[in-house]
Symmetry: C2
Subunit: 421 residues, 2 copies
């Protein structure tokens, strides 16, 4: 029989030590978000193929794992020719399922609805270091809140949660970057770009960290934009020193291109979030923050950490997206944390000392132990377990040294060897 | 755009109240099994199609959701003709992945290895009440322990866990049925059936609860078995009154058909488990317990509850199965609990009083609330959250009555309405 021992390409088996870390972190995430009134929900791993290919998923739509039709339907589809063999697919994010879920259950849910989701998503990406074809996402979203209370709650809750998690490995520094799609739009219009150019211009601006201002200039000129607009645009971004305030950056943008309420709203978010942050955590206006997905409409945010080239969380307001799905407009804002990335950072900093600390007990029983003795041991184990101790009862192996070593690696440290008479 | 609001056929969206119950129960399961030294592991949702169709999954293999190949490979498969369009599938149980996992990671794992798994499995079954196409399984397995310490640990841990869970809805009664495949075999041989007949005879015996002894007699005769063997077989089962001991039932089975150590082993399990059980919980030898899957080789067990026609947990020893997968023989014994069935029972008995009890607080903010006031409220909320209270901060809706009602339904009970000046 052909049997394959390794997992499917690009996917991972989790060893006990992996799971202990993941479960502990997931527990902290769940607890923190629950405190903020986010309610956990869950959707199936599979979605209708129509929903997954509705153009809200961007490039992820190219990476769908398609699930084949079955039985008579598959037969019909095969005979009819190729193209419609799949009727569903594995979800590539938690946002498309959330949009469907909200459309389906809106009447039963509080308004605004604060959703927390965690679950696996699947993308048939080319596997590479730290990028997998099955990975865990953790999203919080607030649906039906058009005010910036939503953003303040999202950012505060996520910062609180990350502070608690990273405190375990003595990291306290990270930065919350914040910007607004309306400001990005206003700045581009102010420089002389047209409404239709904005998407493409932002794709270039998004590369600021990689190619710098001059790289962006080259790319925009190469793409055929007028030198005057390009120069004016980059002058706006060129003058900024680190730590420019939103108000300062926006002062020369005409109110026809940018409503003053947008600037006020963003300053209010910063003013409310700042006093909530622990030492080492900063929130700063970042005029070059773009966020890839085209569906954002208002405030956008991202969390970075020194020494890591990737963001560990990101999100923003997407007031139009759910409406496109459900036909009914619903304002929404969400924050997605990169669970796998957080695990990567924690593993980088994990010390020996962070091992399970409890005095886990292993009873190793020789073959000749009597029934009475066994009954005694099981009852003793019950007492220990009731008191919160982890206890395992196992036959003693010939190579007891190796048996003990492997149990030690999993956190056991008290070994009771029981011999028969 | 064609958009489907409902989940994929046969699968469920989980509302916040569903999730609260599921998470709470899952937490109790994880905690209890951890105390017994079971280590949580996880495998990907997808498995190689070869592994899923290796004939260990029984009828479940007919219910596989197949995942299509992608890109060039799919194109090649399409051109080559039908039959090999899928390269993987969604797992239909947690046992096949466990066998693969153990074959892959054996060297790094303790021996014996006590595994705990929970996760979704998928079966393209005909949806019906209480049966879904995606559902959660919780399995514990002990690999590499050939002694009955494994069964004692499995049964005790599961009974302990179920007692804790059902105590919440004031149920304390359930029954653990236990039998042994070797006894089933011995009884059939003793009656005069041949080794080859056993599988088919057991299929009939398995229907005892539904069709009774006379039904079984009819079926066996209809299937062409000798009246003498059938009569002798059913005489054995007919004489049993409820509560027959294993030793009593087996006393007339020749030791050539049934090794005395099997009976001793089973009696030892009962003797060790009995004193560990809480009031209302029984363990009893049940000579008609068969368990459907053909791969069991030793002790088998099942947990039932009065008033429910389904078992809530089941398992047994399957010493040959992993070997068939990995080529290397590994003894194994496991217990799988029916998570969805437990949820069904809890929902049946759930009282109003079992709602979240904490005084969850909702701040509802009028539009005119000043920035200073908002900052104050966010800081006050932080204090409450740090003290363990769930707090949500939301804009006040025009229909505040409805807003409060929906939040009350989710466990909020303290409403702070904040108005601007």
């Amino acid at each position: 029989m052909k049997f394959v021992k390794t997992p499917v390409k690009g996917m991972c088996d989790m060893l006990p030590a992996d799971m202990r870390l993941r479960e502990q972190i997931l527990g902290m995430i769940k607890e923190t978000y629950a405190r903020y009134g986010f309610m956990q929900i869950e959707t199936p791993a599979m979605e209708h193929i129509e929903n997954l290919t509705s153009r809200q998923g961007g490039d992820n739509e190219k990476l769908i794992f398609q699930v084949m039709k079955r039985g008579a339907e598959l037969k019909r589809a095969m005979e009819a020719g190729k193209g419609e063999l799949a009727d569903s697919g594995l979800r590539y994010d938690l946002t498309v399922p959330l949009a469907r879920y909200y459309a389906n259950h809106k009447e039963q849910l509080p308004a605004p609805f604060k959703a927390f989701q965690t679950g696996n998503v699947w993308r048939a990406d080319n596997p590479q270091k730290g990028r997998f074809r099955q990975f865990t996402q953790c999203d919080i979203d607030i649906l039906g809140d058009e005010t910036n209370l939503a953003e303040i709650e999202l950012v505060t809750a996520t910062a609180d949660m990350l502070q608690k998690i990273f405190a375990q490995v003595h990291i306290s520094d990270f930065t919350i970057h914040i910007n607004d799609r309306q400001i990005l739009r206003g700045a581009a219009l102010q420089a002389g770009f047209s409404e239709e150019d904005i998407a493409a211009v932002l794709i270039s601006l998004d590369k600021f960290d990689k190619i710098g201002l001059e790289g962006i200039r080259g790319e925009l000129l190469e793409n055929g934009y007028a030198r005057e607009a390009v120069d004016q645009y980059l002058a706006l971004y060129g003058q900024l020193s680190q730590g420019v305030s939103c108000r300062e950056f926006c002062k020369d943008i005409d109110s026809a291109y940018l409503a003053p309420s947008v600037v006020e709203g963003l300053e209010e978010i910063v003013a409310c979030v700042t006093p909530m942050l622990g030492e080492g955590v900063k929130i700063c206006f970042d005029p070059t923050l773009v966020r890839g997905m085209g569906y954002y409409t208002g405030p956008i945010f991202e969390i970075s950490m020194d020494g890591y080239g990737f963001s560990i969380a990101g999100g923003g307001r997407y007031d139009k997206m759910i409406g496109k799905f459900s036909g009914q407009e619903v304002c929404a804002s969400g924050f997605s944390i990169g669970f796998e990335r957080i695990i990567t950072i924690l593993k980088d900093h994990q010390q020996e000392s962070s091992k399970v600390g409890a005095p886990n007990v292993a009873f190793l029983l020789d073959k000749r132990v009597s029934l009475e003795k066994k009954q005694e041991i099981f009852l003793a184990a019950r007492k220990l377990r009731e008191a919160g101790t982890t206890v395992t009862i196992q036959p003693m192996r010939k190579n007891v040294k190796r048996q003990v070593e492997l149990l030690e690696a999993e956190g056991f440290c008290d070994f009771q060897k029981i011999y028969g008479d």
